[in-house]
C-alpha cells in the first residue's frame, strides 16, 4: 500500500482515532498502569502516523502499528526519566507482547478495566465521569468542562490530578471480582448517569436530559452493556437513558422553551429508541434483581405509556417512586414522588409530603425542589406563595429554556 495519498493517510488516521481511541488507550494505560503516560504516548504515535503514513503508506494493521510506536515512545521516555527497575522490566514484557504478526493481531478490549479504574472509589466522585469521557472517548477538557459548567483550565487541572492519583496510588486496571463487583459497578453506572444528567432541565421531575454529552454517555452505557450483558442494572441504566433521550426533540418548542412531558408532541418522539429501551427493560427484569436504574427506567416507561395510551397510571408510578426511595433514600426522588402523590391523593397531601428544607438544607439551593413546590402551591391556589417559589426556582436555574418555562408558569398564576 506504499505511496498512499496524504489525504488517504490522514483519513485513515482519523478513522482509527475515532473508532479505536478508547481501545488503544485502555490497552496502553492498563499496561503502563498510567493513564497520562498512555495518552502522551498515543498522541505521539498519532503524530508520527500523520508524518509517516503519507510517505510510506498506511500499514496493513494501523492499530498494531500505533500500539507498537506508542510503546516504543513510552520506553524511550522511561529511559530518560529515572524510574524503578520493576517498571522497566514490566515495559520489556509489554514491548515483547507487541511482536505478534500483523494479520493475527487482535487488540484485547481493556476498556472495562479502564472504566473501573476511572470510577475507583479512591478517585474523587465529581471527576469520575469527566475522566471516563476523556479516556474512553478522547474528548478534550474544553468540551467536558463546558458540559459540567467548569472552565477548561480548571477541568484540565482536575483531570490531571485524577490521573496522577491513578498512577501514584497504584489504582489497578482490572474488573473487580464477583464479590465486589456490585458495589464497584455502582460507581461506574453513577458516573455515566452523571455525564448524562450533568444539568437537569427538569422542572417537573420527569424529564432528565443533558445538553450535549448525552450521546457520549449513551455510547458508554452501550459499551458497558456489551461488556457486561449479565448485569440487569447496566441494562436498566441504558434503558433509562434511551427513554429520556427518545424525547429530546419534543422537549423544546419552536421558541426554545422547555416543554413538559404532558404537553409534548408525541410525533417528535424517537420510537425506535423507545422500543429499544422497553426491550432492555424486559431483558433486565428477567434477572429478578430490581435496582435503582431499572426502577428509573420503569418510571420513564410508565410516563410514556400514560401519554401514549391516555391511561391513568399514577398509582403505579407512585409505587415505583416508593420503591426507588427505598433503594436510594434520596430527597430528590422524594420531591419527584410528591408530584405523583398529588395525582393520586391530591395536592394537599403532596404539599405535606414535600421534604422540609429544614431537615435537608441542600434542598434550599436545589432548583427542582422549588419548581415542584411552586407547581403544587399553584395547584392548591396559594398564588402568592407559588409566585415566590417560582422566583426561587428561576433564580437557581441554569438552562434558558427551563427559565422561560418557569417564567411562563409564574406569569399564569392568578390568571387561571
Amino acid at each position: 500500500m506504499a505511496g498512499a495519498a496524504p489525504n488517504t493517510a490522514r483519513a485513515t488516521a482519523e478513522s482509527v482515532a475515532r473508532d479505536c481511541y478508547g481501545r488503544l488507550l485502555a490497552f496502553l494505560a492498563a499496561g503502563f498502569r498510567d493513564v497520562a503516560a498512555a495518552e502522551d504516548a498515543l498522541a505521539e504515535a498519532f503524530a508520527k502516523a500523520l508524518e509517516e503514513w503519507p510517505v510510506r503508506g498506511v500499514p496493513d494493521n494501523p492499530q498494531a502499528w500505533l500500539l507498537t510506536v506508542a510503546r516504543r515512545k513510552r520506553i524511550d521516555g522511561i529511559r530518560h526519566e529515572r524510574i524503578g527497575e520493576n517498571v522497566m522490566s514490566q515495559l520489556q514484557v509489554l514491548g515483547d507482547a507487541g511482536h505478534e504478526s500483523a494479520d493475527r493481531f487482535e487488540l484485547p478490549d481493556r476498556r472495562l478495566a479502564l472504566l473501573f479504574a476511572c470510577a475507583h472509589p479512591a478517585i474523587d466522585e465529581s471527576i469520575r465521569a469527566p475522566l471516563m469521557m476523556q479516556t474512553v472517548l478522547g474528548l478534550d477538557a474544553t468540551r467536558i468542562g463546558s458540559a459540567f459548567l467548569v472552565s477548561p483550565a480548571a477541568m484540565a487541572k482536575r483531570l490531571g490530578r485524577a490521573k496522577d492519583k491513578i498512577r501514584e496510588a497504584g489504582i489497578p486496571f482490572h474488573v473487580p471480582a464477583r464479590d465486589e463487583l456490585d458495589g464497584r459497578l455502582g460507581s461506574v453506572l453513577e458516573a455515566i448517569y452523571a455525564a448524562f444528567a450533568a444539568s437537569w432541565p427538569d422542572p417537573l421531575g420527569i424529564e432528565t436530559a443533558r445538553k450535549d454529552l448525552s450521546d457520549e454517555a449513551i455510547f458508554l452505557a452501550r459499551l458497558l452493556f456489551e461488556l457486561l450483558p449479565g448485569e440487569p442494572e447496566v441494562a436498566g441504566l441504558l434503558a433509562c437513558m434511551l427513554h429520556a433521550h427518545a424525547r429530546r426533540r419534543a422537549r423544546r418548542d419552536g421558541a426554545g422553551c422547555y416543554v413538559a412531558l404532558a404537553d409534548q408532541r408525541i410525533d417528535l418522539w424517537d420510537f425506535a429508541m423507545i422500543r429499544e429501551a422497553e426491550s432492555l427493560l424486559i431483558q433486565a427484569s428477567a434477572f429478578r434483581a430490581p435496582g435503582r436504574y431499572q426502577l428509573e427506567a420503569a418510571l420513564q416507561s410508565a410516563h410514556v405509556e400514560r401519554r401514549l395510551r391516555g391511561v391513568d397510571n399514577w398509582a403505579a408510578v407512585l409505587q415505583l417512586y416508593d420503591a426507588l426511595i427505598e433503594v436510594t433514600g434520596s430527597p430528590i426522588v422524594a420531591i419527584n414522588r410528591t408530584l405523583a402523590l398529588a395525582e393520586v391523593e391530591g395536592v394537599e397531601a403532596a404539599l405535606a409530603a414535600l421534604p422540609d428544607p429544614g431537615n435537608a438544607p441542600a434542598l434550599t439551593g436545589y432548583q427542582p425542589y422549588w419548581a415542584a413546590r411552586a407547581d403544587l402551591l399553584a395547584r392548591s391556589g396559594a398564588a402568592a406563595q407559588a409566585h415566590q417559589a417560582y422566583e426561587m426556582a428561576i433564580g437557581l436555574e441554569t438552562d434558558d429554556a427551563v427559565r422561560l418555562f418557569l417564567r411562563e408558569r409564574q406569569s399564569r398564576l392568578g390568571r387561571g
Binding site: 498502569r33 524503578g84 479512591a122 497504584g170 489497578p172
Partner: protein, 116 residues
C-alpha cells in the same frame, strides 16, 4: 507497591476500655499482624506512644524550635502503622479494611514514593 497504613484513633476511647477489652484489642492486632506476616507482605510495623508524648521540631531563624505536642492537634491521633507490600491499591484497601483500627478509627492508605 509499598503502602503505609496509618492508624488514626481517639486515644480517649482506648483509655476508656476495661482491661479485658484492651487485652482483646491487643489480641486482635496480634492476629492481624500474624495474618500480614503469613501473607508475606509485612514490611514493617509499630505502635506509637500517645500524642501527648510527641515533640515537634522546626528550624526558625536558623535555630531549632522545639515544641511539646503533636503537629496537628485533633481528637483522632496516629497510634501506629503497618508498612505493607502488595500489588495495587485494591489489595492495600482490602488489608486496611481487615485492620482492627478501621473498626474503631480510620486507616489512611498512603503509597510509598519508591526511590530508585
Amino acid at each position: 507497591m509499598q503502602y503505609l497504613l496509618m492508624l488514626y484513633a481517639n486515644e480517649d476511647g482506648w483509655n476508656a476500655l476495661s482491661e479485658a477489652e484492651q487485652a482483646e484489642g491487643i489480641a486482635a492486632y496480634g492476629a492481624y499482624a500474624e495474618a500480614l506476616q503469613q501473607a508475606g507482605i509485612l514490611a514493617g510495623s509499630n505502635r506509637l506512644r500517645p500524642a501527648t508524648s510527641a515533640t515537634t521540631v522546626r528550624i526558625v531563624e536558623g535555630k531549632p524550635r522545639v515544641q511539646d505536642g503533636p503537629f496537628i492537634e485533633s481528637k483522632e491521633e496516629i497510634g501506629g502503622y503497618y508498612l505493607i507490600d502488595v500489588a495495587d491499591l485494591d489489595a492495600a484497601i482490602a488489608w486496611a479494611a481487615r485492620c482492627p483500627g478501621a473498626g474503631h478509627g480510620v486507616v489512611e492508605v498512603r503509597p510509598v514514593w519508591q526511590m530508585s
